[in-house]
Symmetry: C2
Subunit: 257 residues, 2 copies
Amino acid sequence: MTHPFITRLERTIPLSGPDRDAIERLTATTRTVPARQVILGEDEPARGLCVVVQGFACCFSHLRDGGRQITGFLLPGDCSSLPAVLLGARHAGIASLAPCLVATVGREALADLLLRHPLAGCALWSAALTQEQILREWIVNIGARSADRRVAHLFSELLTRLRQVGRSAGDRCVLPLTQEDLADTLGLSTVHVNRTLQALRGSGLLRFNRGVLTVPDSRQLESFAGFTPDYLEARVATEILLACAKRDVAEADRAPR
Amino acid sequence: MTHPFITRLERTIPLSGPDRDAIERLTATTRTVPARQVILGEDEPARGLCVVVQGFACCFSHLRDGGRQITGFLLPGDCSSLPAVLLGARHAGIASLAPCLVATVGREALADLLLRHPLAGCALWSAALTQEQILREWIVNIGARSADRRVAHLFSELLTRLRQVGRSAGDRCVLPLTQEDLADTLGLSTVHVNRTLQALRGSGLLRFNRGVLTVPDSRQLESFAGFTPDYLEARVATEILLACAKRDVAEADRAPR
DNA sequence: CGACTTTTTGAGGGGGCTCAAGCCAAGTGG
DNA sequence: CCACTTGGCTTGAGCCCCCTCAAAAAGTCG
């Protein structure tokens, strides 16, 4: 089976054989992390890019008053935000929600990849850009939608993303989230999430029971939520692609491994 | 005076002379846009990267029910989100809030820049990453803070960013925003923004009058909002920098313009 | 079984929303 | 120079969405 991270990157750019090899090598050594564990604290400096090979994780921020806000989910093949690694700035924390298989790509290795494999580098950037699209959509979701549509939209997005990585069986999928997690994601209280889920179940749009989401008619749910999946479909423009490829060839000529 | 876009990019990476020249050439032709004008609609395809040279603009999304959510502000030197250009995906709309000077960098020109000037390209990516950091912070703001702290946090961020680009005089700055804009940014109603502003004025933390923000003690405001500016300070890690620079030199050898 | 986490329910309150009207400043045109 | 318009700001009243607090019910796991 191909490496999830490679599959993920190839959704934006078709990679060459050497590219794939290089990435595979970087993410070969993994470590397992139990569920509900902090993978990278908000305060500790990021040593490298964190790639979730298997499992389910999230990015989070804590407020002084004890509140928690989840700012993203990491599915198999996703990686932690590049800013954490490239820019020295503050970064979100990362925690596992289900047991995870995690690879960490150090800064030097990352720099080397960017240098020797521009196409792979470009793919990495593109993944970060997709991430940005998602964040923007989340702002719209939290800022402008009612509680029920908010929940529906999040579930629609997660269902779509899980399908992309082959982790959904028909109309149901596993989401290792508690109602508290949902609350911290959507800017709602736990109690209200509970009642909203009941209402949604009542209207037949979805059922969410002990980490299993069931959506009888995803089309209907998406329509209710105002969800359109186009922000999740990344494909790099050909002009850019050609430029990267050209450089890639040049690199190969000059510095064959 | 140096070009604002270059100043912006150099906040993350020190550029070489040729890099600067190339960027300057790309953003030389600008057009003026009056205030309150749509620069790029949500539906129309993005022809290129949109660089705000002067003025004040915002990114926005519209919902079916007529609601609007502002998902970002573009200050002098900022550019529209790369995803719009590189990935074919849906993108946010862009609108001017004050009169703007805007340059558009076409996809071909952008590809050419990435090819010939890796360092400049890296700077561009980094700017996008900073953008991501800001989006993440906005999610925390909208999702987890009360109305008054939300307003305080946004103002703190904008004040800091305006200082970075030299557009704030001491304790005051110009923000061409209506209360409705603030409402659409923060996920609040216009009426409530009004009352919140009054409360903040009452407590002496800030005054916002007809587009002029006055903050007597920014330290105090930031403390109230729970604002820390570290997510706005981007600086690319040296390892990455060296890799880019190395490639840059190699490029210069191989294909001198 | 006993300790714990997660979900569910109830009751009450408050933060923020909607609707609607009045106000103020800055144009615009006669 | 003054009516008239216009867009934004301000206020009031009423209410509903969602929050908090608290406790019971239902799973979960050693």
